[in-house]
């Protein structure tokens, strides 16, 4: 279908609107310069329509398209990241604007816009973008409506049609969402998102924690069944770090000191002591890009489809967490330890460095009767007045960084104290390790759940005493208030922290309430939409509908419907095009050839009629056509309809005809 120029102008305007609508999320989710492409192509196409510019020929377009992946890689995209492919699709769609000549092209632009709106969901799953995507797809529907009646349809009417279509179908979408079975992934998806994840990574240096403390980013929410633990019991274990190379701490495997290896050696799970306090909770985690799971001390049970327990009593995901996920777990206050290993790796120290610390450790160990007393001596060391808690202690690097901390600066934050403590333990031959995780969290206004942000990141120590790993948190000696309150309530060195007066802590009550309400909305979004799982579906089927076998019926009927539909459509297309094939095809082609020389011949006339007409105008063509008709018509209407000889002669005549009409 061809459109006139004023019609094209109207269509192009709306398509530019669609591209603009796409540009906003592209600008926010992809590197900002990708939006330049649709601007250029849209302006170019507009110029073509005005007659001022020429359309691109095939070769430049092909060249750009082929060069695109390399260009993107050069621009900094990683070829195995989601952003790479989404950017490729986005730029490809924008370039399509250069290639718009027919109705089909315009339709394709809109379809690509819808596809891209869907792809952006891979990069962002917040409520805001979901709302934007619905508005964006409504805009695409308006563009489609206008494409089919560019000038006759007023924008308002088109908008009304599109909005009506969107709203009426929303309940069906919800019903399908809740009832359509979730299938397992069809193949392994290796693509991950490029966005640099802030947060606890698999190694630690003191400076990392200081950086984290400045971020308000939500890490996870925890909903407790029943009472919540006291703030000082809210130790969330994320990682245990065994190996110290003089600068950073790493998780280590038993063999070798490869950083980042998980400890998946089997070991006995912890068992709660009878009568002790227990807590059961459900975690909803934001995507971290890492494999760790923050679990409350001490973990006695954890349930999650993709999580496994490690030797050091933590949970880890089977693969890096790239989308929000949920987990339930249980913790107990006191546990029974059985058959725990790993002491040997918890004794290693670099061979040189920090002589004064080692000396002090020896001294204190001599003065103690046993290991436990020694540990408490070291703890009390930190309680002395000289030591203070600050987030900006200055840099302490080099081989003797711990010496510097203990004897020169005597000020630092949790990571420094933990580090020093563990160093001294190991120096005296007591197995100890650094533990990194989160401490505390924001309680919701109704007290039902906990919000843990990056600023709650914390480091402490665990010491192997009496056949168990016991927690020792040096910060409790230096800044005991840190345990009870959130970090920015009571901080010794207030100037270091960015104060957050508005949200949740200081600020007017109504604003706080709004904050928690918005948080509740986001939590429900994550829980019921993003994490709507098969279990939820099964529950719906069981509660409201009859049985689970209905699910397979639904799948079966929908696929049967689809395939029936598809095959019917294919048969219809074949039937429609049958006149071009087989014996009839000869006539089709003969008419096509004749039309090359005499385009005004009418379809309803027979071949002989055409020959008559052409007798004066074009005698050669007329003669050839007559001989073809003489050979062809008996083939179709005569009694020897399937005579191969006749068929061959008809084909010969057809070839003759073709030769004559060739230009």
């Amino acid at each position: 279908m061809q459109l006139t120029t004023p019609q094209w102008q109207r269509v192009l305007m709306l398509l530019q609107g669609v591209q603009l609508m796409l540009a906003i999320p592209a600008f926010l989710l992809l590197p900002f310069w990708v939006v330049i492409v649709p601007l250029i192509s849209g302006a170019w196409q507009w110029g073509v329509l005005q007659g001022r510019l020429r359309t691109w020929s095939v070769w430049p377009k092909l060249a750009v398209l082929l060069a695109l992946p390399t260009l993107l890689v050069l621009a900094g995209f990683h070829p195995t990241s989601l952003e790479f492919y989404v950017a490729l699709a986005y730029i490809g769609g924008a370039l399509k604007l250069l290639e718009m000549r027919t109705y089909r092209d315009a339709l394709l632009v809109v379809l690509m816009a819808l596809f891209l709106l869907a792809c952006f969901f891979l990069l962002n799953q917040g409520i805001a973008y979901a709302v934007y995507a619905t508005i964006g797809s409504t805009i695409c529907l308006v563009a489609l409506a206008a494409l089919h009646a560019p000038i006759g349809l007023k924008f308002v009417d088109g908008w009304r049609i599109a909005v009506r279509a969107s709203l009426v179908t929303a309940p069906f979408m919800i019903a399908l969402f809740m009832l359509f079975p979730r299938l397992d992934p069809l193949w392994r998806m290796p693509l991950t998102s490029d966005v640099a994840r802030t947060g606890i990574s698999s190694t630690m240096a003191p400076g990392d924690i200081a950086q984290l403390v400045q971020s308000d980013e939500l890490v996870f929410r925890a909903q407790f069944e029943g009472e919540m633990p006291n703030p000082e019991d809210l130790y969330w274990r994320v990682m245990t770090l065994d190996y110290y190379n003089g600068e950073r701490w790493y998780q280590s495997a038993e063999r070798g000191n490869l950083p980042g290896r998980q400890n998946l050696q089997p070991s006995e799970p912890l068992v709660a002591e009878t009568g002790t306090e227990r807590w059961a909770y459900e975690l909803t985690l934001a995507p971290t890009g890492q494999r760790w799971v923050p679990t409350l001390e001490h973990l006695i049970a954890g349930y999650g489809a993709n999580a496994v327990r490690t030797a050091d009593q933590r949970l880890v995901w089977r693969s890096a967490l790239n989308r929000a996920d949920r987990l339930t777990a249980q913790a107990a206050s006191t546990v029974v330890w059985r058959n725990q290993e790993q002491q040997r790796s918890a004794l290693r120290l670099p061979s040189t460095g920090n002589q004064r610390t080692r000396a002090l450790a020896d001294e204190l160990r001599q003065a103690s009767a046993n290991d436990e007393e020694f540990a408490w001596r070291v703890m009390r060391l930190f309680a002395a007045d000289e030591f203070s808690y600050t987030l900006q202690p200055g840099t302490m690097t080099g081989r003797d960084s711990i010496d510097e901390f203990l004897f020169t600066h005597q000020a630092g934050f949790c990571a420094h104290y933990a580090e020093a403590f563990v160093y001294m333990m190991r120096a005296a031959g007591v197995p100890a390790r650094v533990v990194v995780g989160y401490l505390g969290g924001q309680r919701s206004a109704d007290g039902r759940y906990l919000r843990v942000r990056q600023r709650e990141a914390h480091a402490w120590a665990e010491v192997w005493l009496n056949d168990a790993w016991l927690r020792f948190d040096p910060t409790s000696m230096v800044a005991p208030n840190r345990l009870e309150f959130q970090l920015d309530d009571r901080v010794v060195d207030a100037s270091a922290l960015p104060r957050n007066e508005w949200l949740g802590e200081g600020g007017p009550v109504w604003l706080q309430r709004l904050y928690w309400q918005w948080d509740g909305v986001q939590y429900n979004w994550q829980r019921w939409v993003l994490n709507f799982s098969e279990q939820d579906q099964a529950r719906i089927w069981q509660q409201w509908l009859l049985s689970e076998s209905v699910k397979s019926v639904v799948v079966f009927t929908s696929f049967a419907f689809l395939s029936l539909f598809g095959s019917w459509y294919i048969v219809l297309q074949i039937a429609k095009n049958k006149y071009k094939w087989g014996v009839r095809g000869l006539e089709y082609r003969a008419r096509k050839y004749c039309r090359r020389r005499a385009p005004d011949l009418a379809d309803f006339e027979g071949l002989n009629g055409w020959a008559e007409r052409l007798k004066e105008r074009d005698p050669d063509l007329s003669a050839a056509l007559s001989s073809f008709a003489a050979a062809y018509l008996p083939l179709v209407y005569g009694r020897d309809a399937s005579d191969p000889q006749l068929y061959r002669s008809a084909r010969q005549q057809l070839q003759n005809l073709e030769r004559i009409t060739r230009r």
């Binding site: 089909r104 709106l117 891979l122 489609l144 494409l147 049609i161 179908t169 993003l530």
Partner: protein, 320 residues
Amino acid sequence: MAFSVAFQQHFQAWMQRRTPASRHVKLGQRQIFILPNRYGMSFLALVLLIFVLGTNYQNNLMLGFAFWLVAIFVFSILLTFQNLSGIELRAGASGRDFIGQPIPHHWHIEGKREHYGLRVLTQDEVIFLEKVGPTAIGEITTEVVYTHRGRQPAPRLRVETRFPFGWVTAWTWFQPDQYAIVWPLPLDHQAIPNTDVEGRLETLQQRRQSQSDLDQARPYQSGDTPRRVLWRQYARRGVLLVKTPPPDGLLTQTFSLHQVEHLALEQGLEQLSCWMAEAFEAEQAWALDLGDEFIPLSCGIEHFQHCLSRLALMGDQDDV
């Protein structure tokens, strides 16, 4: 092949039953056919792709988006149907002309609601109507060239739409109950217009008809030949009236089917048409005798067209 032929015939018969020739049709469920087209299929393929991606990445939002698009697709079938339903197609007037000349057929398309994006397909052209509604009535003219004389039906038209989203095509066929009158070509077959046949074959009927042509009479003036006096009128009314003689220089003639008896019917008609064309060009008057019908003496374009139409409808069973 036999099966497909039979299927075609069956299908054509079924279509004829649902969309018979009529002067006025209001489109409803019986007349409208609706199917997704290839753009709709590509849209569904896209939705499938989004569904597969959403399943693979376990992204519930993408799945929800795919479900929503499917629901919109199904809803658009209803919307496209509604765009065509309620439209009224009315047959209008058709033209008359010779064989080989394009003859116009007029018809209207109107609706009480607003209908957008209608495409009318005739045999060789596509007319695009942006909007049809209470304030915008579509007046369509299709021109057809015919190869046979007589009462030829207007061509069958297909009215279709893909509005609003282009994924579904709804169409109907309209066979307007209007006919073009196609005149025989004026071809000379070398017959002789035997004018003295006229006197011998003048029947009683013709005499009565020609004598009762009162609108061609004027009062008697001395000098008029008695042959031209309307004696019957004189016997009735006692008024002497004289048939108006044809103007000077104007030849009168009567063309008759009998004059072309020796030719085949079609050729005979063509011959008559040729004579009349010559007479018309020479500004002569003539009368036409078609056996059971007699067209009295006259001249001019309307007389010419009327005569041609009677010639064209020779042998037509159901005369208009």
